[in-house]
Amino acid sequence: MSQQPRSHQPRSTASGKSGSGKSGTGKPAQRRGQQPAAPRPGLVLDVDRSTPPVLLHSGEQFRLERLPAGRSRIIYPPEPLPGLEHPDEAIRDALLNPVDSDPLPAQLFSGMKLTIAFDDISLPLPKMRRPDIRQRVIEAVLDLAADAGVDDIHIIAALALHRRMTEAELRYCLGDRIYDAFAPRGQLYNHDAEDPEGMVMLGETRHGEEVQMSKRAAESDLIIYVNINLVSMDGGWKSTATGLSGYQGIRHHHNVKTMRNTKSFMDQENSELHRSNWRQGDVLKSAGINIFQIETTVNNDLFGDGPLSVLAKREWEWSAKDRATFLGVKTGLDRLPPSSRRRILHSWEAPYALTSVHAGEVEAVHKLTTAEVYKQQLVSVEGQTDIVLYGLPYVGPYNVNSIMNPILVMCLGLGYFFNMYKGKPVVREGGVLIMTHPTTNEFHPVHHPSYIDFFEQVLAETTDPIEIEQRFETSFATDEWYRHLYRTSHAYHGVHPFYMWYWGSHALEHLSQVIIVGGDPATVRRLGFRPASTLADALEMASDVLGPDPSITYVKNPPLGMADVT
C-alpha cells in the first residue's frame, strides 16, 4: 500500500489567500500549541502516515475515517473572521450611508407604499442565535419608516417556490415584536407565487425570459430587501428577481441548460444562472421597480465555543478533551433513534457574528458583499483531483426543521458542495464523487409531498436531467394539488424537486460516478448512484473506474469553505 501517487496528478500545498497560511505538508505535531492571534485562513493538507483520522459528517451522525497516505489531501475552510463589534450601529450606518443610492430616510415619505422582503428560512444554515440579523435590520428599517410616517408597510418572506414559513419560524426570524405588530393585520406574510391575483408580469429580457413579481412588491414605491449572504450564490438580483418571483419567471434560469452552463453557481462571473437573474434585474429596473438592497454576511462560526466546537477544529489539533467530547457526542447520537437525533441537531443555533452589512443599489452592494463572502470562505487549491470526498451534514437549505430526503442529499452533494468552487471543479472531469450520508428513503410528508412522487414516479423511470425536464416538469409544476399544498400548507412547490435535480446536473455531466458511503442501497440506486458500506469499499469501487491509487481530496465542510482551484 505504499505505492507512489500517480504522477500526473499535481500535489498541492496551497496556502490561503492572505498568504499567512501554513504549509500543508507540515507535521501536525509542529502545529500543536500554536495559538494564532488572527483567524487562520483555509488550508490544504497533504495526508501522510501521521495524519489522524478525519471527521466526516454523515447526516445526523459522524464518521472518523483515515485517508490513504501519500495520495490524499484535505481542504480545511478558513477560521471564522471576527464579527462587527456593534452590529446595530453598523446596520444603521449602512442605511444612512448607502452605496450608489440616497440614504434610506430620504427615500421614505408619508403615504408611500413600502414593502420589506427578506430571505426565508433556507438561510443561514444552521439557523442563527437570536436575534436573527433579519430582525435587527428590519427593526432598524421600521424605526426609520416610523420616523418618516410610513403606514403602508408589508413585510414578505421572499421564499419564491420554497415552503411557507410557520408562525414559529417567522417569530424566530423577525422577533415577536414585529410579528405581533404586522401579522395580525395581514401585513406580514409569506410570498405566494401561485396567487393569480397577487403576481404580475413585468416584461421580458432580451433573451425572452419573462420577469414575474409579487404584485404588492411591484406596486410599492420602494422595496427594501433584507438578505443574509451565506454563500456567494445568494443576493444581488437573485434576491428580488427570484425571491419574489414565481414559476413563470424562475423557470427561465432554473433549468438544465442554464445549470450546465453555470460553472459554478457559486462563481457569479461564470454563472449563467446569475447572468439570467441580472438580465431580469435590468427588466425590473426599467419597469421602474425601486429597490433598496441590504446585504449582510456572517462569519464561519457555526459551532461556537461549546461542546460542538470540536467539529470546527482541525483533527490534528484536537485535545484530549476534544476527543472525549467528540466520542461522547458521536456515541450519544449513534444510540438515539433517528427522529431524536434530528430534533436535537435541528435545534442547534449557530453563534454567527455579523461581518458586514452594505446597503444601497443592488449591483454595487452585491460586489462588496461577494468580496466579504470570499474573504471568509475562499481557499486556494492547486490542481484537480481524481476523487472528491464530502461528508454531508444533517441540514441543507431545504430541510430546515425537516427531513433530508434522498433528493435533497443529491442536491446538497452534487449541487451545493460540488459547486463550491471558483475556476475549476475540485475533481477532474470523469472523476468520482464520494459522499457519506445514510440516504434513507425518508421524506417529510408536509414539506416535501412532490418530492415523494418525484422519487416514486420520476426517478423510478429515469435519472437523466434532460429527460426528466422534458417529460415530467410541466405536469408537476402546474399540478393543482401541489399548488394547493404550496399555498395553504407548508409544502415546497410541485416543481421544486426538479430544481434540486437540475442543481446537480453540472456535476452529473462532469463526473463518471457517484458513490454514497453508508447509504441505503435501494435508495442510492434509485438516485442512479452506487452504495458502499465503508469508505475503503468506496475507494476500491472508484479505482475500478479510475485505475489504481487515484488521488483523493476531502473537502471538509462545514464550516463553509469554497475552493479556488487553479
Binding site: L170, A183, G186, S339, E442, D453, D479, R487, S489
Partner: protein, 794 residues
C-alpha cells in the same frame, strides 16, 4: 355385442355433467357409432340445460381428443347426436316437460349416474337425489309405458362396514338390510329437515348466529350482518343435516349418508320395478369403488372436479396433513374412471336378461380393483412420498416443502391432533382479530385463519375418508370378468375393463399424481412470479381507464388518524398547558369505551362523539382547520394513497371522498377530489351573535351501509356505474361500500377485513406514512398564541 346392441340406439343419461357422466358421454360418442344421447340436465342459475351441456360437457378437456380427431366441423356434427333435456332427478316426475317425456320414452337404454357424491351431503339431499332419483326414473318409465334397460351407477360401499368379501349381490340379500323400510327413511329424513330448520330459528340459536356474524364482520352494518346471520343459520342447518345423516348411516352400518342412501336406493329401485310386474324395465346396477383419474381414455390422467383422494394428497404434499389414518397392509380400492365407464357401457350393451334379471332382481356388476389387482395402502403411501420428494410443491417463498414420513396412526390419534391444533388456532384467531392491528399485523390474522381452515379441512377429510382407508372389505368382480370375457377382441380394445391391466406404480407416479398437481394448481416450481402477478393484475384492473369512479374512505385509508385524534387536536389548540394534561388524562381514560362504542355502531358513536363540538365557534374552527390540515391530515397521510387518488383523477375517473369526518376538518382536502361526502353539524347563533356548532348531525353520517346507498344514489345521479367503480377502505365497517362496487380495494386492512379480502380475492394495498417522520404520541396541537396566525393574503 356391445356395438351391435348400442349402435344407432337412443340412450338416456342422467348426471352427464359429473365426473363419470362426462367420460361416459365422451366414450359413447367416440366409440359407439351413431348412438343418440339424451342428457337430463338441470337448468343452471343463468344458463339453460342446453347451454350447460355445451359449456360443461362438450367444452371439457375430456373432448379434446374428439375435437382433434374430428376437426371443428366434424365435432359440430357429432354434437348434433346430443340432445339436452331439462329436468332434475331430485323432483317428482323428473321435472320433465312434454318434449322431455317424449325424448325419454324414445330411448332404449337409460343410464342413471346422477348422484350427490359428496360424502358429506346433508341427509335429506342425499335421500332426495341418491335414494329417490332412480325410483323416480322407474316411476316415470312405468308412467310412459316403456321398458328400456335401466343401468344405475351405485357404489361398492353399499356393502357397508364389513371385513372380508363383498359379493355382487343385492343389498337386501342381508336380512337386516331387507328389514329396513326405505319409505320410512325418506319420511324421517324429510322430518329431520323440518325439525332442524325449526331448531335453527330458535331465539338462542339466532342470537348465536348474530354474534358470530358480528365477530366475522365487525360493525359492517345491519343489512350485511343480517345477510351473514341468515347464511350462518343455513350453514348450521346444513351441517346439522350432515351430522344427522352420518349418525343415521353409522347406526345402521354404513360409513356415511352417501353409501347409506345408495344402498337403500338399490333396494327401493328394485322393489319399485318389481311392483310393476313383467312390463317393468330390466335393471342393472354398476358399483364402482373409489373412482380416480383415467388410466388411458380419453387420455391418461384425465379427471374432473376435485375428488376424494386429491385433496388428501395435496394436503399431504403441502405439509398440512402430516398423517392420515389407515392400515398399511389394508387395500385402497381405487379404480380409474375409464374402466368404470367401459363397465357401464358394456353392462348397458349386454345381450339378454341374466338369470337374476329374469327373476326380477337387478344384475349387479362391481367395478373394483381390490380382489383382482389389489393396491396396498403402504404401497400407495410409499409411491406418493417418493414422488413428492422428487417433485416437491413449493411454498409462497419459493421453498420446497418436505413431505413428512407416514406412521400409519389410528384415526382417533390423527383426529385428536387435528382438533387440538384447530382449537389452538381458533383461540389465536379470536385474539388476533380483536387486536387493533393493521397491515402486516393484520396479515398475521389472515395467515392464522388460513391455517385454521386448512386444519379444519384436513380434519374433515380424516373424518370423511378415514373409514375408506381402513375398510377391509374385498369386492368381488366375478360379473365384471364374465362381462370382459364376453367381449370380442375389437370391443376389448375399445372398452378395457379388466382391473388387472393397471400397473399401480406407473399409474400413481406417471398418471395420477402429475394430474392431481396440475389439476389442483399447486405450486410445482420455485418461481414466485405467478404469486406477484396477481396484485399487479388487480391493480391494473383498478386503474383501467374504463373505470367510472373511485371512492375513498379517509381514516386509515388516506391518513393515519381518526375523529378522536382530530377532536383532541382541535380541542387542545387553544388550551392552556395545565388543562391539556387534564384533557390528556381524561381522553386516555375514555379511550377503551370510545373504541368499544365505535366497534359496536359507527353512526351512534359519531353522533354521540360529535356532541363534544357543541358550542364551538365556527370561525375559530375554520381557522384552526387550516393548521389541522398540515399538522394532522398531511403529516399523517399515506403519500401512496394520495398518489393513487391523483392517478384515478388523471385517468378521468370521478374521485370521491366518503367519510364520517366533519366538513370543516376536511375542507382543505377537497381539492384532491372531485366530490366529498362527509358529515355536517348543525349551526346556531350564540348570545354574542357568533356562529357556533350545535353538536348535532344534520343528516345520517355516511358510515357503514349508508355509504353503499349514498354511493349508489350518487352514481345513478351522475350516470356512473357502480360495477365499474373502485372503492378503497380499511375496515369491515366499510364492507357494504366495498361490496357495492365492482372493484373493491382493502387498504391496510384490519384483521377482519384482511381475512374477508383474502377470501374474496380483493386487491389489498399497504399504504404507509412517509418514513422517518415522527409525530408526538398524543395528537395535541402546537399551542395557538393569542395573535391570529399568518394566513398570507388569504
Amino acid at each position: 355385442m356391445i356395438l351391435q346392441n348400442l349402435s344407432g340406439q337412443r340412450i338416456f343419461i342422467t348426471g352427464g355433467t359429473g365426473f363419470v357422466g362426462t367420460a361416459l358421454v365422451e366414450r359413447l360418442l367416440r366409440c359407439v357409432p351413431d348412438c343418440q344421447l339424451v342428457l337430463l340436465v338441470r337448468d343452471g342459475r343463468r344458463s339453460s340445460a342446453e347451454q350447460r351441456v355445451h359449456k360443461e360437457i362438450l367444452r371439457n378437456d375430456c373432448f379434446d381428443r374428439l375435437r382433434e380427431e374430428l376437426g371443428a366441423e366434424g365435432f359440430e356434427q357429432m354434437a348434433n347426436r346430443v340432445q339436452a333435456v331439462s329436468g332434475d332427478v331430485g323432483t317428482d316426475g323428473l321435472g320433465l316437460d312434454e318434449a322431455g317425456r317424449a325424448a325419454l320414452a324414445s330411448c332404449t337404454t337409460v343410464i342413471h349416474s346422477a348422484a350427490t357424491v359428496a360424502f358429506d351431503s346433508p341427509l335429506d339431499r342425499a335421500v332426495e337425489v341418491n335414494l329417490l332419483g332412480p325410483v323416480r326414473i322407474a316411476e316415470m318409465l312405468h308412467e310412459l309405458k316403456v321398458s328400456p334397460h335401466l343401468v344405475c351407477v351405485s357404489t361398492c360401499y353399499v356393502a357397508g362396514n364389513r371385513r372380508g368379501s363383498a359379493r355382487e349381490e343385492p343389498v337386501d340379500s342381508n336380512d337386516f338390510v331387507s328389514s329396513l323400510d326405505w319409505r320410512a327413511e325418506v319420511a324421517a329424513a324429510r322430518r329431520s329437515r323440518s325439525d332442524t330448520d325449526a331448531e335453527s330459528r330458535a331465539p338462542d340459536r339466532l342470537r348465536e348466529f348474530g354474534d358470530r356474524a358480528r365477530f366475522e364482520l365487525g360493525s359492517a352494518g345491519g343489512p350485511l350482518l343480517a345477510e351473514r346471520t341468515e347464511a350462518l343459520r343455513k350453514e348450521w342447518a346444513h351441517a346439522r343435516m350432515v351430522e344427522i345423516g352420518r349418525a343415521r348411516a353409522a347406526s345402521v352400518g354404513w360409513p356415511d349418508a352417501y353409501a347409506f342412501t345408495k344402498a337403500l336406493s338399490e333396494v327401493a329401485t328394485a322393489q319399485t320395478l318389481r311392483s310393476y310386474g313383467d312390463s317393468a324395465a330390466r335393471l342393472s346396477v354398476v358399483r364402482p369403488s373409489i373412482i380416480e383419474s383415467a388410466l388411458l381414455e380419453p387420455k391418461p390422467g384425465w379427471i374432473r372436479g376435485f375428488r376424494m383422494a386429491e385433496p388428501i394428497i395435496l394436503s399431504y404434499a403441502r405439509g398440512l396433513l402430516k398423517e392420515f389414518p389407515g392400515v398399511p397392509e389394508g387395500v385402497v380400492d381405487v379404480i380409474p374412471v375409464d374402466i368404470v365407464v367401459a363397465a357401464i357401457i358394456a353392462t348397458a350393451g349386454r345381450d339378454a336378461d341374466t338369470p337374476a334379471q329374469a327373476a326380477g332382481e337387478p344384475h349387479i356388476v362391481q367395478v373394483a380393483s381390490g380382489s383382482r389387482n389389489p393396491l396396498k395402502y403402504q404401497r400407495l403411501v410409499d409411491r406418493v412420498r417418493e414422488w413428492f420428494t422428487e417433485h416437491p410443491l413449493y411454498d409462497q417463498h419459493g421453498q420446497p416443502i418436505i413431505v413428512p414420513d407416514w406412521s400409519f396412526p389410528g384415526r382417533g390419534r390423527v383426529e385428536g391432533q387435528l382438533s387440538r391444533a384447530g382449537v389452538a388456532l381458533r383461540a389465536a384467531e379470536k385474539v388476533v382479530i380483536n387486536l387493533p392491528l393493521r397491515g402486516a399485523g393484520a396479515q398475521l390474522g389472515a395467515t392464522i385463519e388460513e391455517r385454521r381452515s386448512q386444519t379444519e379441512r384436513a380434519k374433515s377429510y380424516v373424518e370423511l375418508y378415514g373409514t375408506y382407508t381402513e375398510c377391509e372389505a374385498e369386492y368381488g368382480v366375478q360379473h365384471l370378468l364374465t362381462l370382459w370375457e364376453s367381449l370380442d377382441p375389437t370391443e376389448q380394445a375399445l372398452f378395457g375393463l379388466d382391473p388387472a391391466a393397471i400397473d399401480w406404480d406407473a399409474y400413481i407416479t406417471q398418471i395420477h399424481l402429475p394430474s392431481v398437481v396440475k389439476h389442483g394448481r399447486a405450486r410445482s416450481s420455485p418461481s414466485r412470479s405467478s404469486a406477484e402477478a396477481r396484485p399487479d393484475r388487480l391493480r391494473r384492473a383498478v386503474l383501467s381507464p374504463e373505470r367510472h369512479m373511485a371512492a375513498f374512505d379517509l381514516e386509515n385509508t388516506l391518513i393515519a388518524s381518526n375523529v378522536v385524534t382530530s377532536y383532541a387536536w382541535m380541542a387542545t389548540r387553544r388550551m392552556p398547558t395545565s388543562e391539556r394534561l387534564r384533557f390528556a388524562a381524561r381522553t386516555l381514560a375514555e379511550a377503551p369505551s370510545l373504541l368499544a362504542q365505535d366497534r359496536k355502531d359507527r353512526s351512534d358513536f359519531l353522533r354521540s362523539f360529535y356532541r363534544r363540538y357543541d358550542g364551538a365557534l365556527v370561525e375559530q374552527l375554520d381557522e384552526d382547520a387550516v393548521e389541522h390540515f398540515s399538522a394532522m391530515l398531511l403529516a399523517r397521510s399515506f403519500p401512496a394513497a394520495i398518489r393513487r387518488v391523483r392517478e384515478h383523477r388523471a385517468l378521468g375517473h370521478r374521485t370521491v371522498l366518503i367519510t364520517g369526518a366533519l366538513d370543516f376538518l376536511i375542507q382543505p382536502l377537497m381539492p384532491l377530489f372531485d366530490d366529498v361526502i362527509c358529515a355536517r353539524l348543525g349551526t346556531a347563533v350564540d348570545r354574542s351573535g357568533r356562529l357556533t356548532l350545535t353538536g348535532q348531525l344534520d343528516e345520517v353520517p355516511p358510515t357503514v351501509e349508508a355509504r353503499a346507498s349514498i354511493l349508489a344514489e350518487y352514481c345513478s345521479a351522475e350516470g356512473l356505474l357502480l360495477e365499474q367503480s373502485v372503492a378503497y377502505a380499511d375496515s369491515s365497517s366499510d364492507l357494504p361500500m366495498l361490496e357495492a362496487v365492482g372493484f373493491p380495494v382493502a387498504v391496510n386492512p384490519e384483521p377482519r377485513l384482511a381475512s374477508i379480502a383474502r377470501k374474496r380475492g380483493w386487491l389489498v394495498e399497504d399504504f404507509r406514512q412517509a418514513k422517518g417522520f415522527r409525530h408526538s404520541v398524543l395528537p395535541f396541537a402546537t399551542r395557538w398564541r393569542p395573535s391570529p396566525t399568518v394566513r398570507g393574503q388569504a
